[in-house]
């Protein structure tokens, strides 16, 4: 009897092992869910992560900031306006259709219709299919960021999304509030396709058998994604073994996660910069460069990184993080209370003044605490801060209305390029061109604007970088705003995720197709 039991037990265990050998499931919990299955409906981190799972871009970012061929195998600039892409042969969509140049043309057209993406592709004309596997992407002006934009072109299955659905709507409709065909159906060329989805609860991705990238070491056959917004719950789910992978890891739990025996923590310096803008239109004091400079000197951003961010951020003295074209290594963080006081005295505000300040309380890591700390630091130069924080759902309208003298904003460049920071945060606000849309400081410097515009038309990467670095220097010398830090990225997975660090990157687009689990 005992022997029989033992035999059964062994058999069961063997089955268990055998089963585990083929099927590797990655259970992961992220702080957000992809908004929908339509990659063009919203431009957000969650949607881009999803796009990398179910679709595949023409090119993608490698860890060193170079471009890695994906659906495009090679590319060349054939004239100042045209980039020619050679496409990969034998790529299949999830629907079984074959991928060709016309899918790229179709996808670019759709991107130009998408409310969220059209501004990124403003300079792009219609693409032209030269033959089945060659496509020309044309810009209306010389544009140095064609390849960076190609990382956003995730070709969709044009045949699959053509025609009308059961309710008579065109299948390619981009619907912000739905329902639509593309919101709940997908056909991409990516390593996984969606087999189950309950919005906000669970999404299951199954490995695509005909995936073109057979050289990829990835062996995950299924991904189960659960969005867990609550930080404590997400960490608990990882530590209790209910999920294998989480992102992001909240700063207060880094130590606990990092020292856990089954878990590996991966962190990287991030690219989202956190700043305060000083509104020169509302406050004449801020039009005085010495006052802005005094604020810059009074804020101990290294202290904030150390104490509030638990070292989980990189002190910033400019917008461009290291690795971006415009990153200027010469610019050092400034903190010197005596100098700040001296500048205030020089400007005639020795006794200080009172300013209003707003910040969100659920948008950036520790945003409310940071704002409180900055308010405390400004008190030392006799500036009294009336701080108001609010949830992000209310914050942006207040920010746009410029209701306060000092406003917090964090920014990540959608183009992974320095010019984007300038265009949105620092260029003179201009309703017609859309530049300076988030410049609530109303900082305006025609010289800087001209430099950034010129940089965008410059093809030579070295020259372009020099121009953007010079622009960073100008903003730094002008103390255009108060710089705090770049938020770091963090992920945690099981120890048996062999190449975890390799599939993660500063953009926070994990390449799950390449993940190997032992």
């Amino acid at each position: 009897m005992k022997r029989l039991l033992l035999a059964c037990l062994c058999a069961a265990m063997l089955c268990g092992f055998a089963g585990a050998a083929h099927a590797k499931t990655l259970k992961m919990a992220l702080d957000a869910d992809p908004t929908s299955l339509d990659p063009h409906v919203q431009l957000s981190g969650g949607m881009l992560q999803y796009s990398h799972i179910c679709f595949d871009p023409l090119v993608r970012w490698a860890k060193d900031g170079s471009f890695e061929p994906r659906l495009a195998v090679s590319w060349e600039q054939i004239d100042p306006l045209t980039t020619r892409f050679r496409l990969r042969e034998g790529v299949k969509f999830h629907s079984g259709n074959t991928f060709t140049a016309k899918d790229v043309v179709w996808t670019l057209e759709r991107l130009k219709q998408s409310q969220d993406y059209k501004f990124l592709f403003e300079l792009f004309g219609p693409a032209q299919a030269v033959d089945d596997l060659t496509v020309d992407i044309v810009t209306t002006k010389p544009y140095g960021l064609v390849l960076a934009m190609a990382t956003y072109i995730f070709p969709m299955d044009s045949a699959f999304y053509s025609g009308v659905d059961d309710s008579g709507q065109p299948k390619d409709l981009i619907a912000k509030t739905g329902p639509s065909f593309a919101l709940t159906n997908e056909s991409g060329t990516g390593p996984f396709y969606v087999t189950y989805r309950e919005h906000g609860v669970k999404t299951v991705f199954t490995r695509f058998k005909d995936y073109w990238d057979t050289k990829s070491p990835g062996n995950v056959s299924e991904i189960v994604l659960t969005p867990i917004k609550e930080e404590a719950t997400r960490v608990a789910a990882l530590l209790s073994g209910d999920v294998d992978f989480i992102a992001p890891v909240p700063p207060q739990d880094l130590e606990r996660v990092g020292t856990h025996k089954d878990v590996q923590l991966v962190t990287m310096s991030g690219t989202r910069v956190i700043t305060f803008q000083l509104n020169q239109k509302r406050r004449p004091e801020f039009a005085d460069k010495r006052v802005r400079m005094a604020f810059e000197y009074a804020v101990n951003n290294a202290g904030i990184v150390d104490k509030i961010m638990k070292g989980f951020a990189t002190v910033a003295a400019q917008q461009s993080p290291a690795g971006y074209a415009g990153h200027n290594p010469e610019l050092a963080p400034r903190f010197d209370l005596d100098k700040a006081k001296a500048l205030m005295k020089e400007a005639g505000y020795e006794n200080g003044f009172t300013v209003t300040m707003i910040a969100p309380n659920n948008r950036y890591v520790n945003d409310e605490k940071i704002a409180q700390a900055v308010a405390g630091m400004l008190a030392k130069i006799n500036v009294k801060v009336e701080l108001k924080t609010m949830p992000k759902a209310q914050y942006w309208d207040e920010f746009d209305a410029q209701v306060a003298d000092v406003q917090m904003i964090g920014w990540h460049a959608d183009t992974e390029d320095s010019a984007n920071f300038f265009e949105y945060l620092l260029m003179c606000p201009n309703k017609e061109t859309g530049s300076g849309q988030y410049n609530s400081g109303n900082y305006c410097n025609a010289e800087l604007d001209a430099l950034v515009v010129a940089a965008n038309a410059e093809f030579d990467p070295a020259k372009r970088a020099a121009m953007l670095q010079q622009a960073e220097k100008m903003a730094y010398d002008d103390a255009a705003f108060v710089n705090l830090h770049w938020q770091n990225n963090s992920w945690a997975g099981r120890k048996n995720h062999k190449n975890l660090e390799h599939i993660l990157n500063v953009m926070d687009f994990p390449y799950f197709g390449d993940l190997t689990i032992e």
Binding site: A236, K392, D397
Partner: protein
């Protein structure tokens, strides 16, 4: 009698109208839903176009009338986030909340009755004192702290129970997925149910103890004991039965409070119920879902209260007199 019922229903309709007005009043305070629908860099013109499309630029009164028109036909609008009819979203999440509340109620019932009776019968025993002292602590610890402590001990440290979610569910009807029929689902239910019950449990223990103490002094109890009935029979049949009435009344009232407390419990445990989506809807400024939720929950409460009142009125004519005043 007929007039009473009509009046009661008219009152219910009035309450629903008031709830809908309040819903619309807070709608604008929650924030702009368009911000959550588009990326940050989308231009102001694009956003304006979208809010025009969604009818958000109309005066609130116009939006309210339009909403009422839809509501009469059972259409509470589209959830901006889920991109589906709001009512459908809520109804699908309701079973999870109901199961959680049910499980917590069972725990409260199973624990509070014996503990309450014991504490009343042996008020000086060490165990009673400990239990009563413990219940004071229980009342004062916020529910999310209890939840996090439970997760830490039973999920992370001991690894006995899962830390989040509902686990495996079985589909009963097109909108009812139950976790009560699978082992995994039941395991997932334990910690959230304990957390949720922790709010009410001390209250019920104290209530039963107090009522029971009073009953124990009553003459008929002494008489029953003097008659030589077995002690447990005296306690449960003669004593406890008479403490039940106030307990049930309070229990009915507290059930509503408990549904409110599920918001916190569900958030900590990622329990996909109505409370969870309510809080998320606030954060995302999914205002149409928010209003629909208020209307839905209000409707359920009003429906239950009206039904109870009418039944009371039918059973007990005294209530009718009160209603006529």
């Amino acid at each position: 009698m007929f007039a009473f019922i009509v009046r009661r229903i008219a009152q219910a309709v009035m309450v629903m109208l008031v709830i809908s007005v309040i819903g619309f009043a807070i709608k604008t305070a929650v924030g702009d839903p368009v911000r959550d629908l588009v990326g940050v860099a989308v231009s102001a013109e694009e956003r304006a176009r979208l809010s025009q499309e969604l009818g958000l630029n109309d005066p609130l009164a116009v939006q309210w009338v339009r909403f009422l028109g839809g509501a009469l036909q059972g259409d509470l609008g589209q959830s901006y986030f889920f991109k589906r009819p709001a009512l459908e979203v809520i109804v699908r999440k309701a079973p999870a909340t109901l199961e959680l509340v049910l499980a917590a109620s069972v725990i409260i019932l199973l624990v509070s009755v014996p503990v309450g009776i014991y504490a009343a019968v042996r008020p000086r025993a060490l165990a009673s004192r400990l239990l009563m002292g413990g219940s004071v602590i229980g009342v004062s610890i916020p529910v999310f702290l209890t939840a996090i402590m439970l997760i830490y001990v039973f999920a992370i440290h001991l690894g006995w129970l899962p830390s989040y979610g509902r686990g495996e569910t079985v589909r009963l009807t097109s909108w009812w997925d139950t976790g009560l029929l699978t082992r995994d689902g039941l395991e997932h239910l334990v910690l959230p149910a304990i957390s949720l019950s922790s709010v009410m449990l001390p209250l019920f223990i104290r209530l039963i103890r107090a009522e029971m103490k009073e009953v124990l002094e009553a003459e008929y109890m002494k008489y029953a004991r003097a008659k030589g009935l077995r002690p447990w029979r005296v306690l449960f049949v003669h004593g406890f039965k008479n403490t039940l009435l106030p307990v049930i009344t309070v229990g009915g009232v507290q059930l509503g409070t408990m549904i409110a407390f599920t918001v916190l419990t569900e958030t900590v445990f990622q329990w996909q119920g109505m409370g969870f989506i309510f809080l998320e809807a606030v954060e995302r400024a999914d205002t149409s879902l928010l209003v629909a939720y208020l209307i839905f929950v209000g409707f359920v409460f009003v429906l239950v209260n009206t039904a109870v009142d009418i039944i009371y009125g039918l059973v007990n004519p005294m209530v009718r007199i009160a209603g006529r005043k």
